[in-house]
């Protein structure tokens, strides 16, 4: 008997019933191109889920241990779907891809690899990423690839909650006290230089018209919506140049190696073992 992650009574996000195991058992094989694209989506979710999970037992209040844990759990769930699907192209499992790829083989963006920092920095990252992901999955549900569309449909409901969570905290921190205003503003400045990474079209997305969402197509809505919530929170929209590099196929942050060293350590001590 297996325990799906939604057995948790504290889990709040509702979703369509779909599991990584079901994707694996469907017998659908992703094309090489689709698999490369699925890695983009899966690796982003995995890295951010890994980062956020560190908050569990360290959050400012118990309700946030639960809320951040929920979001982390959703993201790891999304990663499992995408990596399982990607793996069908190469005869690999989600765990082969998560635990036995090296740094340079991951395809996550730099934003999700950034340090948690204080709660303000984490919320700044959550805001940017959940707003981006919301635009992304809202379009991916129309993908001609049925598996990608089904994963997006499930994930979208959850990401709506992530987005609300980030927006609510942005308002509380922006409007709350002088200190919270300063900290969340600093957090936004810290994360802002990595936004462009999210919206680059490249050969992977270009090879999949009608299947992949072209990241550049999400930019306009994202810019408008994020500017609205930042202004509502009485914060300023950071005016900073974007950081160089950040191509998903090569450049990545210094943090990635540390994240993977921690995440992969046990699995790599026992290659081939089952858990």
């Amino acid at each position: 008997m297996s325990f799906a992650s939604n057995d948790s009574a504290t889990k709040q996000s509702a979703g369509i019933a779909i599991t990584a195991e079901e994707i694996a058992e469907q017998g659908i094989t992703a094309s090489e191109d689709v698999a490369r694209y699925a890695l983009y989506l899966g690796d982003d979710a995995l890295m951010l889920g890994q980062r956020l999970s560190h908050w569990i037992s360290r959050a400012p209040e118990l309700e946030e241990d639960i809320a951040l844990g929920n979001i982390a759990l959703d993201l790891v769930g999304h990663a499992r779907f995408f990596l399982t699907y990607a793996g069908t192209a190469w005869g690999k499992t989600e765990d082969d891809l998560a635990y036995f790829r090296d740094e340079e083989e991951f395809r996550s963006c730099r934003l999700v690899e950034q340090e948690n920092g204080d709660f303000g920095q984490t919320i700044a990252r959550q805001l940017i990423f959940s707003y981006y992901q919301h635009e992304l999955y809202s379009k991916l549900v129309e993908s001609q690839d049925e598996t990608l569309a089904a994963i997006a449909a499930k994930a979208l409901k959850e990401v709506q909650y992530h987005q609300d969570h980030a927006a609510q905290w942005l308002l509380r921190l922006g409007i709350g006290t002088e200190e919270s205003h300063r900290r969340i503003q600093e957090g936004l400045y810290y994360m802002w230089p990595y936004i462009d990474d999210l919206f680059h079209d490249d050969d992977v997305t270009a090879a999949l018209p009608g299947i992949a969402v072209q990241p550049s197509s999400l930019r306009e809505n994202f810019d408008r919506r994020i500017a609205e919530i930042i202004s509502e929170a009485t914060l300023e929209l950071p005016q900073v140049d974007q950081a160089w590099g950040g191509d998903r196929s090569g450049e990545f942050s210094e943090a990635r190696g540390h994240i993977l060293a921690e995440m992969q350590v046990l699995a790599r001590q026992f290659p081939g073992a089952t858990w």
């Binding site: 118990l62 844990g69 635990y99 204080d118």
Partner: protein, 334 residues
């Protein structure tokens, strides 16, 4: 009003109050003797209120501190499925803490006061969480043994005389049995894996078994408060009865896992119909519960750090709520 008259009135009101109190006590005694539930609005003896507040808040603190050893493995869980299950579990524990703080609050002590008692080191929590979770197998052992012991302890508490506590326990017990099952699965996979994995599982069970037995509290002869708790229908079975039940339950489960329990004196006693088990090290227990376990300092430090580093966030949320309320009041006024 002259003095004698005032005295007279006071005497009358004292008598009335005394009568009311006697009636309330009688009603309370009746609820207990009928094995009915006491609810927050009911009168209850001070001792009952105090005992429950202590027990329920200690239980809440245990859920919260108990998140730490398991959170220690979330980022290193060896498969994504195990990672997701473990995250959900630790989240459940936070939820248990919340239900229990709510139940404790109905007895009249606010959550922030209870939390402060924990941070000040004035409140206890289950000593088992002061042991380190060093290996992945420890996550299995904690689920199987610690959640297992929690279930043995808590199933009878579902019938505790205090309504909010009993009802919180019903919710919690459902989830604890998932947790125990998950711990069992982890150990099962390990004990059926490579020899190194099996050794990891055995080592974890060796370390957690004794402390898990101590979760039921001191032997009956050293547990003076148990009698009163049983008379109040808070506790239904003595510490030693529960411990025996747990041992009887775990022996066949350990056999099914292919692991041994670290007790040379463990053997079936035909006459008693129970397993006999060896003496536990109660000096160790006393030492750990009073602050000298391997991880007491770290557990408290983590909780205090989370609390103090989160202070600005909680203040911001409170201030934001105040501002919004003022803003809404203005809108309604306008």
């Amino acid at each position: 009003m002259n003095a004698p008259q005032a005295d007279h009135l006071k005497a009358v009101s004292d008598a009335a109050l005394g009568e009311d109190e006697q009636a309330a006590q009688n009603y309370f005694d009746q609820l207990i003797s009928e094995d009915s539930r006491v609810e927050p609005r009911d009168w209850m003896p001070e001792g009952y209120r105090k005992t429950l507040t202590r027990q329920v808040s200690q239980h809440a603190h245990s859920e919260i501190i108990g998140m730490q050893p398991e959170a220690n493995w979330i980022t290193r869980a060896p498969s994504l499925k195990r990672k997701a299950i473990l995250m959900a579990k630790v989240q459940d524990e936070a939820g248990h803490g919340l239900y229990l703080y709510s139940a404790a609050e109905t007895l009249g002590t606010p959550r922030d006061v209870l939390n402060q008692q924990l941070l000040d080191g004035k409140a206890k929590y289950s000593s088992i969480f002061n042991y380190p979770a060093r290996t992945w197998a420890d996550i299995g052992a904690i689920g199987w043994l610690v959640d297992g012991a929690a279930i043995c302890n808590q199933v009878p508490l579902c019938r505790a005389s205090y309504g909010p506590y009993g009802r919180a326990m019903v919710r919690i017990c459902k989830e604890e049995s998932f947790h125990q099952r998950q711990g069992w699965e982890i150990l099962y996979e390990l004990s059926h894996g490579t020899p190194e994995q099996k050794q990891m599982a055995q080592d974890a069970v060796n370390r957690f078994y004794g402390p898990a037995l101590q979760m039921f509290g001191p032997p009956d002869e050293d547990s003076p408060n148990s009698k009163q708790s049983m008379a109040w229908n808070i506790k239904r079975f003595s510490n030693d009865e529960l411990r025996q039940r747990f041992v009887d339950m775990m022996v066949p489960q350990a056999e099914a896992l292919g692991l041994t329990l670290p007790d040379p004196d463990l053997k079936w006693n035909e006459e008693r119909g129970h397993y006999d088990y060896g003496k536990l090290d109660w000096n160790e227990f006393k030492s750990v519960i009073s602050g000298h376990g391997p991880c007491n300092v770290q557990r408290m430090q983590r909780r205090r750090a989370a609390h103090s580093e989160g202070a600005w966030v909680r203040e911001a949320a409170a201030e934001y709520a105040r501002k919004m309320e003022a803003h809404n009041a203005e809108l309604i006024g306008a």
